[in-house]
């Protein structure tokens, strides 16, 4: 249980586990969770940063709304990847610096934390909740895939922190 409390403590406090319930109660819980999340997002300290990230995400959605944006057949932004990216942003722990947001040729949203050519980490958010990540720290490389279900995994969070922003 020690591991679980540690993991939860590293997550954003307004992120609730995905509510897949279909009952009336499940619907009410979902509504309340949305209200809390929205009011938190409006607070001055957290809201400004979050609004900036969300604004960038929306800009990316507009910028990459058509196929072939790279001149080599790139796919337009994937709507499911966009939705998962929104959820990913809302799940980031407080205090994590804002990432750069971009879209890769397969249409998936990419977040990057960078402090230089050899001090960076990127996460590409897939449509099936997969988080494909790659980091370069000096000459050390890390890459792999994690799944985004009940929060962001420690592997992803540790790699973001490794960038030493």
């Amino acid at each position: 249980m020690k591991t679980e409390s540690y993991a939860i403590g590293r997550q954003n406090p307004v992120v609730f586990h995905r509510n897949l319930g279909v009952s009336w109660y499940a619907g009410k819980i979902r509504e309340e969770a949305d209200k809390i999340r929205q009011s938190f997002a409006r607070t001055i300290s957290f809201g400004d940063k979050l609004s900036q990230i969300l604004e960038e995400l929306l800009l990316a959605r507009h910028e990459y709304s058509k196929d072939n944006w790279d001149g080599y057949g790139a796919k337009r932004i994937d709507e499911q990847s966009f939705e998962n990216a929104l959820r990913f942003v809302l799940s980031l722990p407080l205090g994590i610096p804002s990432p750069e947001i971009d879209v890769v040729p397969n249409g998936q949203v990419m977040f990057t934390w960078s402090k230089g050519k050899r001090q960076l980490f990127s996460v590409i958010v897939g449509s099936m909740n997969e988080l494909s990540y790659a980091g370069l720290y000096g000459v050390t490389k890390r890459y792999g895939v994690e799944y985004f279900t009940d929060g962001i995994s420690d592997t992803i969070l540790d790699n973001i922190n490794k960038v030493d922003l």
Partner: protein
Amino acid sequence: MVLLNKVSPDESLGRFLTQSKHFARIKNEVKPKAFMPPINLRLSVSRIHGLALEEIWDIGLAVILDMREQKTLYGVADIKAKTVEKEKLTILPDKLPSLHANVVGWPEDVAEQMSIAQELAAEAKLILKA
């Protein structure tokens, strides 16, 4: 250096930068996105070894004219062939006198592609068009 049909390890290859998100002007860096392969996994580059900048821009302008979308030529990422080959990628040059080549042999896994793109970007030299 006289260009041969086969690309030499010390040859410079140019990846033309057609998006503002391909580079960081202030940091003078090429971003990994510039080296992310397109969906057909054939990354287009040009053999620019020994060419004057004006000649490089002429080739770059011809490259973007061939694209189906209207693009801006911001600059070029200059990288040595041996750096590309070190990543277990293959450079397939078009027949001379064409200076075009494709970098192939990319893994299917997007995380691995990004890891390679990060390494190539870290080794590339940014040359911006004035």
